[in-house]
Amino acid sequence: MRLLGMLLSTALAIGALTAGPVQAQGEGPLRIEITEGVIEPLPFALPVFQAETGDAGGLAAQISQVVSADLSGTGLFREIPATAFISTVSNFADPVQYADWKAINAQALITGAVSVQGGQLVVKFRLYDVFSGAEMGDGLQFTGTAEGWRRMAHKVADAVYSRITGEGGYFDSRVVYVSETGGKDARQKRLAIMDYDGANVQFLTDSSAIVLAPRFSPGGDRVLYTSYETGFPRIYVLDVGSVQRRVLESQEGTMSFAPRFAPNGQTIVFSLSQGGNTDIWAMNIAGGGATRLTSAPSIETAPSFSPDGSQIVFESDRSGSQQLYIMPAGGGEAQRISFGPGRYGTPVWSPRGDLIAFTKQNGGRFHIGVMRTDGSEERLLTASFLDEGPTWAPNGRVIMFTRETQGEGGRSSLYSVDISGRNLRPVRTPEGGSDPSWSPLLK
């Protein structure tokens, strides 16, 4: 799948796709302010993209469907069914009959065209602000291989999402996670990677050894994870393209786990247990020895860097129960930031730098929550028997996590939720799933 990234090129369309005349009608520009908490999703119309070559019909339909699913899946948009359409769009270049779309209350209209020429797929789209009677931004064109059609659909949806919300997109991204089969006492785990929406699942390891908590590199090309391949937990790095893995150096008689990359993609932080005591260490992924960042008799684990690489948030039970702390990236004095009832673990710094997502345990329930980096404005987004292990979408607006159900038939699966707490959704995977890690937006 990595090849696709290299084959896929994005180009601003010129000439034929220049924007039409702006005809603002005084109803204000089409805009969703996510921070204000949207209650009513924005209705959009997306007529099936035009097939501009004879054999592009199937792909045009599939691409249209994925774009719609991406947008609807955010909870911020609502697709108007095609049966309600008054106008048809028979030619991508034709002017839009705004009145016909306004009449069915479509606030946004997305049109597109797909052509296949000698194995090369070209996808074009335009976005219209129906009530302003104007095109929003220029038309865009994406070129790639037919195999990469899903990525091109995600890129169209990302562009639409970005233009309307003013936020970065996140649909053209991947998730690495632990795929699970078997009951709780016979669980088989293996690493898997998929598109953010659960498509294109590929298994990266077999299930001969327990694997835990994969973490993407900042470039999305490598994955750190913990495996019991040697009988003891050790950290591995896996190249996503070649699926080659290697074990990182470690000290005899110790256990290492909970790795995560620094933003520079070279340094990693992780937990090392020695003589029953777990502390946080850092090392260069190329080797050369590890540096100890914490030295307390308590448990220090689950480190995560701030996006600028200057600080690390982690969990510690030095106060008597699991709480969140922030320390300088090189170690040193840590400030506790969590003070609410219950215990806090698995902190993850948002890619925007403004929030920290965490797992909270309180009163026999688990929650995924977010707080500001000084610990203020704590918000719990979910509640269940067992929710844990948040990971951020590349734009810092959505969190994916593990939910495990109770009892003998208990099963793990992946869920996502908006940071407002709305739009809790299962992420479909072919088997059970846990420990998701969201990639950056693909290039």
Binding site: M255, G276, I299, L386, G407
Partner: protein, 171 residues
């Protein structure tokens, strides 16, 4: 097995181990008291004080912990005293001590907690004279529960450290 019966067996096991019987199969009648009316002990069975089965079943291969704790309980000490005595007698064996946690906790924390538990057992056995180089530790966190219900009856059994005998010492 009731707790009382288990403790009785343990005491019997300790008494036996204390005999430092040179006969590895315990067929001299001393062990026969445990073995039953015939006086015969099936080698390798849980009645054979030199067998791993005896270690695992008669002495007990595991100790349990309170929520979030790695302190060895009084009951646990009895088991570990038996394990230490057995290991001191059967010096060909090494062991890996596996620390485990129940499912109520985050994954990383539970790995660290299991490491604490495994280490607490290791330190206890070392304090009783077992050579440290015979004992390794590993933590499985909440990855390997033996009981799968989601209530305290199961959780209590999953919060454990298990001493797994591993092959002979070489050299």
């Amino acid at each position: 097995m009731t707790l009382k019966a288990k403790i009785l067996l343990l005491i019997a096991g300790l008494a036996l181990a204390a005999c430092t019987n040179p006969d590895r199969f315990g067929a001299d009648g001393t062990a026969g008291g445990l073995g039953g009316a015939g006086g015969a002990v099936v080698p390798g069975s849980a009645n054979d004080p030199t067998s791993p089965a005896y270690f695992n079943q008669t002495i007990g291969d595991r100790v349990l912990f309170a929520v979030d704790q790695s302190v060895i309980s009084d009951e646990g000490r009895v088991v570990l005293d038996g394990q230490a005595t057995w290991l001191l007698t059967n010096t060909d064996f090494t062991a890996i001590i596996e620390g485990h946690a129940d499912e109520q906790g985050t994954r990383e924390y539970n790995v660290a907690l299991g490491a604490r538990r495994a280490n607490a057992v290791r330190e206890y056995l070392v304090s009783k004279g077992v050579a440290g180089n015979r004992l390794r530790t590993v933590s499985y966190g909440k990855e390997r529960p033996i009981e799968i219900c989601s209530n305290e009856a199961c959780y209590a059994k999953n919060r454990r450290a298990v001493t797994v005998l591993a092959g002979g010492l070489t050299g």
